[in-house]
Structure formats: structure tokens, C-alpha cells
Point group: D3
Chain length 230, copies 6
């Protein structure tokens, strides 16, 4: 693998990328047909953030954050930086200085399949990070990786320019070419859920709303009264 | 195993079930003789809730939340829904719609040996969840399980109608038949701890309060001064 | 190994020990040459605390907190209690009563390679704990260990009297003999970071601030434009 | 929980218990309706053993093997000793001396939700062990537990006298009352698999043997040729 | 995601695919520039096998092996079946019946990011499996997935037709388009290692063979004699 | 931390170091008073080896095996190389070439808190390795560490020149200064176990050999007959 930094990647239209944030990870994941999720070990460094952005991708060596500095220059306003490693690592490859630099360029957050540090400062800055670990472990700048190549991050394939959506539930990836249709599907699903929520809040049962009773009976579910009840 | 849904399970008296919440998981666990705890991987989706309730149990297939809809109908005010899976799973089998439905029936919380999602909405609703993971992974509704049979959830045996107590420290199960005596023991322990806390806050040592010095000496503990001190 | 409790351990000067807290774990770890960190599974029981103190060490049997009571008596104002176990354990070996006792002696926090409980009470008391787990599991008082011997806690060697620094990023250990020089290095690093943060916030790139471009080119990094861009 | 040792537990008929071994864990688990499995972290200390026996159960404190000595006396020829702990542990609570003692009584193996040691000696003796870990960590004899009470071992409920089946695939538990019917179901399933294996070996497809094609089409599976093929 | 089964995928030339096996995972991984490895949790179900083949890929639901039956029909002699799941699972989705069917078609092995069972039978058949777990847990046939789409398996991207190499060290994926060049690089690396091994066996040091001494000195390595030696 | 390579470390007498192997890890660990064990995740790459040797220690960066080459030169006949990393790693930092080099110098084995590869070749060579993982992941040679400084390896403190004992049960460390006394204690324990094994094989119970019955009764153990027995 030759180390390379790809410049000027294509992105989905800015307003489409931005609109995803409102619908959240679960809705977007469902709207896409239940694909695209990163592993659930990816957790927010601080709670409450909900963002969407275009992926700038990094493939780094574990414990080496040299390529993150290279990637910063390739980021634009509206991006989310996505960092994968060539082997599992929990090292704190990202902290408040890199966050300051990304924030200065309008980057909306970081997704890193490794560790981050300076958690309190990140929260004070309002810069959200999703990572597999929190660790102060310092890193070296010794070995090249690549920027803006396809990467596997926390079990999900991310191509540069894909749409990343992240919130307290985790991180989901939407391929760039499907961004518009996925957004529409998410909007439709969201509207549908509002209606269902009202009915459920009023006491209707999912068994009835989703017409499950017949299928349950057909599958063989038997209802019995507890022997102690008489 | 034939799939079955047991209706009208017996529960402990409502005021006893409710009174447990005040004493918290650690006190109830100790009062019962140090048994009944679920594994410590069961964590609250959001901090600060402390509840008790009667268990309605579900045995579900991993990644399949069909039986949760069946279970909702069996829940009453004052219950806690307890979901076990036939194999380890972190899928997000529970979210804000099911929570809305449970809350409409007066259910006090969910304990699930799998994942949950819509964490922010759950916190806004004030519906507490204890789970092994947070994950937006969507689930299917394809294969039956059972409702209100005995289940092993996070390492603990739960019979329907048992009392569940959950707080930031985790989840504990009290068998229905022992509810009254366990509650009394928890109350006694709680009262005793208040007294001890005062003495400890005043500077008395546990070594003296618990009369440990003799036992330590008998067991062979030797006190030495550090060689650098003279 | 004979069980022993060492009294009157030497500590670093009180003002030096106290001054560490201001710089945080990541800075101290870097200032020491990237050593001394505990494993990243050590997490704060509640967020936001940042402390430093002199280590009083305990080697305990898993699930047995007898020696913690012995250790309390050896603690002074400005100390941090550090508990290692002879085998991995997540049991809740520490709760609000021991915290009350430690707080009464001016101890600044607990670092335990096992579980803690009473999380809500600990936060209300303002007593910080870093642990590998939160668990209500009760413990016995049956087998001796030692106090103030060298221990390996969460992968780091801790000698009694070493300086412990802990915050939301984790826990770092500074050998007592290096405390003064490490503090100076941390202060210098901190000052340097303030300057860099300003430049990065103003939009300067790390690539330029750290003069990385030449080294990257020499290492073989190639820049290419994305094929879809023209 | 009062510590207790229950004597003279009922067991399933000896020939039925013994006959299970021939069918292995996967077949018995399937024959029972896909229940009763212990978690897959339970692994044989050495490969190739396949046993069945009546469960003598132990609930032990982690790192404390006192109750194993109590349990030995309760074991008879044809038993399997099953050890659960009150909290997760990997300590080496069992080694060649206890194995010698069990083997002298005709016990067929050990299932322990903790660690074992003396692996090479165990293999030389031909005494099989299934455990969650291999560890030389020594244990104490300080705190009581119980013998022959219901326990949760590696996620499975085990009542004393239940039938245990263990092989390279893991461990399964069959309730005593269901032993005869489960054995018959396992025998039927085994006979059926022999027929299927022949057909599959001859090149028939599962798609046809199990008549899956229609169901797949109905569920919406679409077959397409790869675009590069023409 | 629409469920789909892609037929007639392109494969690399048969002799090239077959030749990879001789060089093993570590050599092929290095020859490709240190990419393409699956996570190290992928372990052989039995030791000693070393195979290479063309990937037929499956994306399955966790705990559901319906699509494996669909995939069997798409396999040819010289293939390796690669199974990814939409969420983490350890269920025993593969056993000796499916192995019999694959072996009848000339398939060389299975790589599955889930569990397998019937380990002893698999070894007796000589059918190698690499999996994340061994588990007898039975699976359902209820929900569609896809065959021969790109999948992420154990952290590695696998396109149908890619070359899979697997041995006791793990599993590596070589993109189909790079198969010929990667094979040549592996052969060259292998030849080079034979020479080095001879020199090392004769007592030459890597420090000298790789000319490391100057670089070490330049990087700042200092040699000191131990203070106890005089 | 300044990178350093310490030469000419003191070792325990050769015959004492060598004699440890005969007693195995469990016996040595017990003889030392139940200390010195590495974590149980350290497993042999192939089964059956049992060695002892003097520790040559390495502190390496994760994924960087440069310092292993430096360490080889410091090894003598009768040594065991012990490698710790500055952060958790599973990378395959050691393979058959380094093993060839170590074997040429008379080194008896490797203990590495990271991954190893070329497992089959290592077994064919008869060179034993204990590691936390098996992984073909290639490593870089970019950043210095140290040789023959005290390290924490898999949770155990290892000073250069300490005695390492390793077998199928794991790895134990004996401080150099205690080597002679620990060896004697191991020999005594071993002799004692031979006697006990005979008595246990003859059907005597541990309850009687260790005179446990009185202590059990005093601690409160109650014997009851099973209610179904009459």
C-alpha cells in the first residue's frame, strides 16, 4: 500500500449533508435498510451532540497521529474527520490541539477507531468526538498512512465524501450516492414515527398498530394463565 | 422449548415493591446476603434514575424484538420489563416508541441484556433503561420467544413477579417470596449505615468501629515503619 | 509474600504534589516522556474531577476489602488511595462509607483496579473515584493483603509516595523522586500548548507549525487529486 | 443466603445420563429446542473429551475453592461437578489434586465458570475440564458458599441433578425431568442428520433438501448475474 | 438494502489463487504492504490447515444461517466461503452438515465472523474453519441477507472474488485485481526470508543484517552497563 | 524516559534458573506466596512447552519491534526474552526469523504482551512463545524503547535478571534475589503434593486430609438432605 493523500474529494450537496443531523443515527440507519452502522463500542466522549458531515478519511498506524495533521488540511467546513487504524489501538491519538485546528476549519466532529484525550476541554469547546476509548496515551509521528482512501472504521466501510451521522446512539455511514434518497427515507420514517408515538402514548398497543396478533398465532405463540392465578 | 406468553402473573404487594427503590441496589443486595446481582456490564442508559418494580420477563432471540411487543400487553403499572436473549447480543432492541408504550402503561423501566437506542429521547421522557450496550442496530420481528417464563438475565435468574431494583450501581433481583423480609433487612441496614456514616465522618476509623485490630493481628498482619523514616 | 502494613511512608513536598492537578493527566504523561499511564479501562465514577495526591497503596485479594480499612489509617491529607488486586476483579470493594472515612482524613480520591459502588452518593459527596467497573457486588473481609508496598495497578507500577494525577482522561503515576522535575516539565509543556492553541485557532496548520511537510515528502507521501475532480 | 450443603440429590437414571454423551452438545441443544447452552466462553482445557453426567452444583466465592472440597464428598460415579461463582473470576480454583480426588470417586469432569490450572496434568490423567480461563492463580479457603443449590453457571441455570453434556463445542444443561424425552429427541435428530449428511455429501443442495427456494423467493430474494460476466 | 444473490462472480485465475496457500498469511500480508488482515480474534477451529481460495461472500443476520444455504449453490471448486454478519454474533451458524455440502463442491474452507460448531467432526473431515467463536448455539432461517456483495468481515473489506489466505496466524484478503502482483511479491519475500533465516541461524544479528546500528544511535539509543556489573 | 539499552545484567545462578522449569508455574506461584503471576490472557502459542530462564526485558512501542532486534544481542544461553509495550497491542511483533536468531543464542523462549505470528514454524522449531494474541499484523521499526529496564508485562513487574517460568498454565516471575529460596519452597511443595495425590487417589477426602470439617461447621455450613430423598 503506497501512502497517499487524495485532495479535492467530491462531497454530497452541503444542505443535504447538513439536513441529516436532525434525524439521528437510529432513524437514518433504519431508513437505509438497517445497514451502515459502526460497532457499538464507538461512544461519544461527551453526551448530547448530534452532527452530520462529509467524511474525510484517514488510515493511520496505531499510536501514530502523523496523518491526522495531513488530513486537517484536506478538511472543509461541514466535514467530519474519520480515522481508522491498521490494527486495534486505544491510544489517545486526538486531543484539544487537533480539535482547535479542525474547529477553525469548520469541521463538525471526529470519529476515531482508537482513543481520544482532553475530554473536558473537548466538551468545553463543543467539539464532539466518537471513539472506542478515552486515553491520555501519547502518540508518535513516525510512519505514513493515507488520507481520503476507503477505510474500514469500527466495522463500517467509509469512502471519502460519504455522509457521517453521529449522536448518543453511535455512528452511521451513508454512501454519498445514496445521500439524497436516504435523507428522504429518513424524513418519511421520522414523520411516521411521530404518528405512531402519539397512538402509543394514548395507550394503543404495538400488537394492534402493527397487526401482529395473527402472525404471532400463526407462528405458534400460546397464551396461558399463570397457575397461581385462579 | 414451546413459545408461550403467561398472563396474570402474581406480583408482590404494590407498596412493598415500590418501597424498595428508596434503598438502592447495593443495600438491597447486601440485605439479601450478597446475592441476586446482575453482571456489572449492565449500565444505565442515562444517570440518576433509581427504581423498583415487579418483573415481567421476556426471552427473546438476539436481534429480534417481536416478543417485546407481546410483553407490553402483559405489563401493569409498577412493573419493570426484563429482557433476556438466547445468545449474547448488543443490538438496539428497544427505543423511544416501545418506551412510550410502556410509559403509557405505568411501567417504571426496562432491564435488557442487549442494546437500547434513542438514548437522548429516553432521558427526555424520563424512562430509565439498564442495558449491556447502546446501539442503533435495527432488529427484526421474525422468531418467537416467550413472555413471563423464568429467564437468566445478565447472569441472574429472574422469575416473573420478582422484584427488580435498579440504580446507577446496577440491577438486583429479589425473589417475590422474599420481598417483604428483604425490604425489612434493607431498611435495617440502611438505618445502621446512617449511624456508621456519622461516626466515620467524625473521624472514627473502621478498624475500631468494626473491631478489626485483633483479627488482623491474629491473621498475621505486621506493621513496619518505612525504612526512609527515622 | 508476608502481609505487611508499612507506616510513615515518605511523600513528595505537599505543594509540589498539589500543583500537579492543574496540568491534567495528558500533559503530565507527555511531560514525563510518555510513561506512567494506567490502562484506559480506568474510568471516573463521575465526570469532572481533577486531582493529584501522594499514593498510599493497597494490595488486596479480589472481592476482599479488609485491607482498605487498614489503609485508611495510613492516609493523610493530600493523599490518593491506590488499590491493586492479586487477580482481576470487578467487585464493588469501595462505597460511600469508606469514602466518608477517607474524606474525613483529607484524602483526595481513590484509584482502584476493581469495582466501586454508591456512585450517586460519591458524586454528591464530591469524592472522586477511578475504577475498572461499577458494581454493587458485596465483598468479604477474610484474607490479608498489604499496605504501602509497591503494586502494579491497571498496568502501572505504583510505589507508595508516588504522585498520582487523575482526571477525565484517566490516571498517571509520577515516581516520587521525579516529582519536581516532572512538574516543571508539565508547566513548560502547558505554556507551550497555550501558544500553539492560539495559532491553530487562528487557522495555522500543524503541518506548518511543526514543519512536517519536508519529512512527509521524504517519507514518501504522495498527494493526488481525486479522479472525479477535474 | 445461608450457606448450605444439600446431600442425596435426586439424579436421572444412570443409563439415560450416560447415553447423552454419544450425541454431543450441538445435537442435544437442538433436540431440546435450542435452549440450555452455557456461554461460548466456556472452553475445554484440552481437546477431544465428550462426556455427560449428573450435575453436582457449587456456588463459590471468586478466588475461594473451599466449597469444592465440600462438594467432592457429595459426588458419585457418573457425576459432573459444576461450579458457579458469585462474581466473575478467572482464578485457578481447580487443579490436579482436586481432579485426582474427583476421579477417584468416578466423576466424569468439571465445568467451572472461573479458571483451572495444571492443564497438562489434567490431560495426562484424562480428566476433562470446561472453564472460562486457564490460570495458575492460587485461591484461598476463607468464605462459605453452597453445594447443590440451583446456580447460574456461564449464563445457564443448573439445578443439582440436571444432566450436563460437554464436548469441544461447549456445555449444555438438560433439566432432570426432561432427560428421557430430550435423549429420545437427540437420538431422532442424530438419525435424521446421518441421512442428510449422505445426501449433502452426494452433492444435493440444502436449498432443495429443505425446500427453501419458494420461501426465499417469497421473502424477496433476487438473483442477479455479476455485471462483469457476460 | 435489497437482499440479493449475485451469480457468476469473476475470480482470479485458478492457479494463482491456489499458489497463495504455500506462502501463508504473514508473508502475503507483508508482501501486500501490510494491509488486508482480518482482526486477530479470527482463529482456526482446529490447528494446522493452510488454504487459499476465491471469496464467495455472505452478509447474514446474526443467528440466522439461511443465506449460507443460498451461498453454497454459488460456490465452485477452489472457493472459500466468507460470512459477515450485520451485528456481532457468536452463534454457531455453521456445522458439519454445511461443511459436508461445501466439501462436496470443492470448497476449501470457511471464514465466518460468528461462531461455528461440530469442531471435532470438522477436523475429522479435514474441513478448515476460521471463526470468532466456537458455539453450539442453534440458529434460525428467518430473515434474508445477501450473497456476493462486498462485506466487512472481521474488520477487512472483502469483495466477492478476492483471494483469501488463511492459516494458524489468521486470515488475509487480497483484492482480485492485485492477486498476480501480490503473489509475485510474496514469492520474492519468501525467497528473501530463506536467506535471512540461514544467516540468523548461523548467529548473525539482525542489527547487522539490517544495518540498524547507525539509525539506532542517530535516534538516540544509549548503551549502558548494569551498575551491578563491574 | 530516555531510551536506553542496559548491558551485562546480573542473573541468578544458571543451575538454579534451569531447575525451576521442572516444577511448573502453579507450584512456583504457590511456593512464592501466591504472587508474581502474569494475567491469564498470556497463552502459549503452541501447547506442551515448560521452560525457565533469566529475563532480558524490552519496553517497546506497540506495533514497533525495533527494540527486539536490539535485545537479541543482550541475550545469552538460558535467557527468556520478555517484551512489554507502552500501550495494549495485539500486533504480530515476533515471528520465525527473530525466533531463529534467539534460538541461535540459546534463548529458551519469548514472553510478549502483544501478538506473535508464524505459529506453525515456531512449533516446528520448538521455540515456545507466550503471548496475548496471535496475529500476522506487520510492525514498523520507527521509534525507540528500552532494553533491560524494569517493565510491567501482562500485569507483573519484571526486572531484568528475574527468573521467568512458563508452561501451559501461564507465566510467573520470581525476583532474582528470591530465586534460591523460591526454588527450595517449590521443591518442598512439589514433594508434599506427591504425597497428597496418592492419598486423594486412594479415596481419602480433602475435607479430612486438610481437617476442614471443624472450620466449616464453625463458619456456619449446614448439611441438609434433599427434600426429594426420603
Amino acid at each position: 500500500m503506497k501512502p497517499v493523500c487524495i485532495r479535492n474529494i467530491p462531497r454530497a450537496p452541503h444542505d443535504i449533508v447538513t439536513a441529516f443531523a436532525a434525524y439521528g443515527v437510529a432513524t437514518v440507519h433504519e431508513a437505509m435498510g438497517r445497514v451502515g452502522l459502526m460497532k457499538p463500542y464507538m461512544r461519544p466522549a461527551w453526551p448530547g451532540a448530534q452532527v452530520s458531515g462529509s467524511a474525510v478519511t484517514v488510515l493511520a498506524q496505531p499510536g501514530d497521529n502523523w496523518m491526522l495533521h495531513v488530513a486537517v488540511e484536506q478538511c472543509r467546513s461541514g466535514d467530519v474527520l474519520v480515522v481508522a487504524c491498521t490494527a486495534d489501538s486505544t491510544d489517545g491519538m486526538f486531543g484539544d490541539l487537533l480539535a482547535t485546528s479542525l474547529q477553525a476549519r469548520g469541521v463538525r466532529g471526529l470519529v476515531i477507531d482508537a482513543g481520544c484525550r482532553d475530554v473536558r476541554e473537548l466538551q468545553e469547546m463543543g467539539f464532539p468526538v466518537w471513539s472506542r476509548a478515552i486515553s491520555a496515551k501519547g502518540t508518535v509521528k513516525a510512519t505514513l498512512g493515507s488520507v481520503n482512501i476507503p477505510v474500514v472504521c469500527a466495522g463500517a466501510l467509509v469512502n471519502p465524501g460519504d455522509v457521517i451521522v453521529a449522536d448518543d446512539d453511535g455512528v452511521v455511514v451513508c454512501p454519498r450516492a445514496e445521500a439524497e434518497s436516504a435523507l428522504k427515507a429518513a424524513q418519511a420514517r421520522h414523520a411516521n414515527e411521530i404518528k405512531k408515538r402519539k397512538r402509543l402514548a394514548a395507550g394503543e398497543l404495538g400488537l394492534d398498530i402493527y397487526s401482529m396478533r395473527e402472525a404471532l398465532a400463526k407462528a405458534g405463540l400460546v397464551y396461558l394463565d399463570h397457575p397461581e392465578q385462579s
